[in-house]
């Protein structure tokens, strides 16, 4: 049985736990810092494989994922896997090369088209978690 985000023994939960899945180092770091700055706990995964590794043991409150990523699975595959195991877990997809309607049809709660301003990621998470600092 996995750990719920509230059981994270080594970190405070803050406003909620967000799993950020992005292979580009600088973008991942900027997104994570933006979310941490307003009070969310963030787990940074470099690809879908790492995200699934986390999800086996931790249930975050929301996932933000890139679409195109190296590894055995891209963001679409990750979305499908999450929808199978956690149908109600908010998933926000982001990409520079995709049609938003495709992702909403596939089960994404929101889609952010790259490039987007940094504040947009916090607004998107707040919409899902109904949280405000």
């Amino acid at each position: 049985m996995g750990l719920a985000s509230g059981e994270l023994a080594v970190t405070p939960r803050g406003l909620g736990c967000v799993l950020v899945v992005e292979d580009e180092f600088l973008i991942r770091m900027l997104l994570a810092d933006e979310l941490r700055d307003v009070g969310y706990q963030v787990i940074e995964a470099v690809n879908a494989d790492e995200a699934l590794e986390v999800l086996r043991g931790v249930t975050p409150d929301a996932i933000i994922s890139d679409v195109r990523m190296p590894g055995s699975m891209d963001g679409i595959g990750l979305l499908a896997a999450v929808r199978q195991s956690s149908p109600n877990l908010p998933v926000i997809m982001m990409s520079a090369h995709a049609d938003p309607a495709d992702f909403v049809a596939a089960g994404a709660n929101q889609f952010l088209s790259k490039p987007f301003r940094m504040g947009a990621i916090v607004e998107a998470v707040r919409r899902e978690l109904d949280t405000a600092p």
């Binding site: 023994a9 080594v10 970190t11 180092f25 770091m29 940074e44 470099v46 790492e50 986390v54 043991g57």
Partner: protein, 143 residues
């Protein structure tokens, strides 16, 4: 907390280099909890990127060489010694050592306190690893 757009370095930070997501995020969050700014790198390519990025200010590197491909941790340490000798490099070989390194950093860190004992970090990572495939979980239990 660790990057700005003005080109000037911000507050000091620790670079965690660890290819294992479970220990990387646990060690990084432990260090954040005691007041450090932390940059997470999942491999040495990302570590080199962070070290060469002028907007990042890195003071200490904690690299878990047990999770990195053979020789990459030492390559990183050698590069730092030659190119950034002012940086402190701490090589750890597993989550236990990494957690203890983090605890030592927290003792002398910006808030001069440890948030909790490093054993809590180790136990947390082991609990998460137990959710992995049985063969990997068994290896963890032996360490």
């Amino acid at each position: 907390v660790s990057v700005n757009t003005s080109g000037a370095p911000t507050s000091a930070s620790i670079l965690i280099v660890d290819a294992d997501i479970l220990s990387r995020h646990a060690i990084a969050n432990y260090l954040r909890h005691c007041g450090y700014a932390v940059v997470e790198a999942a491999n040495t390519d990302e570590a080199f990127f962070a070290l060469k990025e002028p907007t990042l200010s890195i003071d200490v590197i904690v690299a878990d060489i047990a999770t990195l491909p053979s020789a990459e941790g030492f390559e990183l340490a050698t590069w730092v010694r030659q190119n950034r000798p002012e940086l402190e490099v701490k090589l750890a070989g597993g989550v236990e050592r990494a957690a203890n390194v983090a605890a030592e950093l927290c003792k002398v860190g910006p808030h001069l306190k440890r948030p909790f004992e490093p054993e809590a970090v180790i136990d947390y990572v082991k609990r998460l690893r137990a959710t992995r495939a049985p063969s990997i979980a068994a290896q963890d239990l032996q360490t």
